[in-house]
Symmetry: C2
């Protein structure tokens, strides 16, 4: 036996009413308690027990007290599988996330989980690594009859339409699906990048480099095209290299750009913070560049390390709390009423001046 079973169970059997013999010993061996056990102990019907745990049901305070007491004594917890079976509500929501190691998502995940649990909803975590895994993982999602899903991962349109067909509400997080026909929560990448570009150009930068994220990333596309577009409007040239949203991509990207421009680069726009951090480290360590004096580097996201003294990254911080709050409430609303129209809520990020980019003209 792993542990001592020492809890005081079956002691408070002093209240009146019909009672069957209750053997504390059997607790440790018997099958988990059911509503029938509780009903028997409380001297009521199973229905009454059920109603006790179902808000809004008709039950007298007296019965309720008796039942709750019995339930507590027996350590009873309603079986979510049984109740889900009949109510067709699992109170489970799938949260699908691609790369948990992205530094940005853990915060999002923690927030979402907390907020969902405020609604009495638990999280079925689906961590996708490779695109190919999605189908296998989705099988699990279907089996558990989740009430909805929050998706911050690459999911094919077919897979998305599968959700729609089953009428399982979905909210995309920083993605965009099916021409705006799927509810989603996004941070305004284009606006954010335009702000960054405006500041950088206003400060006198002219020659730009951009390190993009993976091709299939929606946010990368948005951020890059937002920056490119604004740079074009302002008559600046920009060289583009591809990255993978990770630290090493920042390093590699900067090296490529330095080679391409022969070192003549005013500012570097990275599609996320992690690459910006990699680029800063590379600039300093490998090229002896003073950031931001010789080169301005900006990122996007506002992850925790961006604020660290070594970087003090100039970036656009996504309003994680507001975004997760929106995602959860949009989802919960659609679980209540699946016919709500799709809606795309876009949030503006906050420009963080930081100290990795010169954002004002030289006096």
């Amino acid at each position: 036996m792993l542990l001592e079973f020492s809890e005081k169970i079956g002691q408070s059997s002093s209240h009146a009413g019909i009672q069957t013999h209750f053997d504390p010993q059997s607790m440790t061996e018997s099958k988990p308690t059911t509503s029938y056990d509780v009903a028997q102990r409380a001297g009521v019907s199973q229905s009454a027990v059920s109603r006790c745990f179902r808000p809004g049901s008709s039950i007298s305070p007296k019965t309720r007290a008796r039942v709750l007491a019995a339930a507590h004594e027996l350590g009873y917890h309603p079986n979510a599988m049984a109740s889900g079976l009949i109510t067709k509500r699992s109170n489970l929501v799938a949260v699908m996330i691609s790369n948990l190691t992205n530094l940005y998502y853990p915060e999002v995940l923690a927030e979402i989980t907390r907020r969902l649990s405020d609604h009495g909803i638990s999280v079925l975590l689906v961590a996708l690594q490779a695109e190919s895994e999605a189908d296998a993982m989705l099988d699990q999602v279907w089996r558990y009859r989740v009430d909805g899903a929050i998706i911050a991962a690459q999911v094919s349109p077919e897979q998305l339409s599968y959700f729609a067909r089953r009428r399982v509400p979905v909210v995309l997080y920083n993605r965009f699906g099916e021409g705006g026909n799927v509810p989603s929560v996004c941070c305004d990448s284009i606006g954010g990048e335009r702000q960054l570009v405006d500041q950088l150009v206003g400060a006198g930068h002219r020659k730009f480099g951009i390190i993009a994220g993976p091709d299939d990333s929606y946010v990368s596309q948005q951020r890059v095209s937002g920056a490119q577009q604004r740079l074009k409007e302002l008559g600046c040239e920009a060289l583009l290299v591809k990255g993978a949203f990770d630290y090493d991509s920042g390093d590699a990207g900067l090296r490529s750009l330095m080679a391409m421009t022969d070192g003549k680069l005013d500012a570097l726009i990275c599609a996320n913070d992690l690459m910006a951090i990699g680029a800063i480290d590379c600039a300093r360590a490998n090229f002896g560049i003073d950031v931001p004096k010789d080169l301005s580097i900006v990122g996007f996201d506002g992850v925790a390390p961006a604020t660290w003294a070594s970087y003090r990254l100039s970036t656009v911080r996504q309003p994680v709390r507001r975004m997760t709050e929106a995602a959860v409430s949009m989802l919960v609303e659609r679980i209540e009423d699946p016919d709500l129209p799709p809606e795309v809520r876009t949030f503006s990020g906050k420009l963080i001046e930081g100290a990795s980019a010169r954002l004002t003209p030289i006096a």
Copy 2:
């Protein structure tokens, strides 16, 4: 309607056999398909359908093919709640994590999730923020009748014994419960710290500072006492300040220690990487200290930022893959056989030399 329902359903109705009328249109409206629907379409009994999806059941290849075809056409997925109800196996495992924002846990979480899904097990994520939430969150855990739990969070002994009483297997991750009576997977904190101390002392450091983690953290206690003990053995003095495992604690801790020692500090041992990083930044930015020339700083964990060029932290890296692999397999074994004895598997971390500490004597 949010999406076009254009999938080719009900087209491949060319195979022989008794068939009822099948209306593709009804797919979009009707209730989700059950094993009875599949049975009817395949012209077999519900039992046959069930056996098709249950490995090891007796079913002929022919029937199997028919059923699978029908299931595919109808988009059928077995209802995990219904099957869990009768088999008493939910195929759910609770993964409880305290502070997801700790940089170390996302990696662990991703690994664990992936490995569990290899066993056909899904993850019910429980993200604890405050200790006080644990009870409310555990209620969810009990309702879903999880098959087991992997716990990397502060959980009270009472709560742990609750698992034991219900015979729900638990594996602790980097914790230690009930005098070794709970299966657990740990990284050898004491050994790791001793290695660090040995190296530091061997390199000539004598005056040490230690920044601890939160009082209630098991790993913090282990790491700190491991370091203290070895330092004492080697006749070195060490000042201790308290932290909270976050970046700011590194900063604050270093400031305290500098004040206490009047700047005369040879080496700083931080109970985790994040605090070490905070301390490095603080040393450089606020005290103009050259790390590691004037001060050696070491951490513990081996998180991703520790490898970044700005830090190149000297630390002990936990073998995350081996540890998660052990945690998952220990749990799965105990789900199969709950009577397996508790077991504590300890893994040695890997010393990463890095460049934030001078680990060899001055020539």
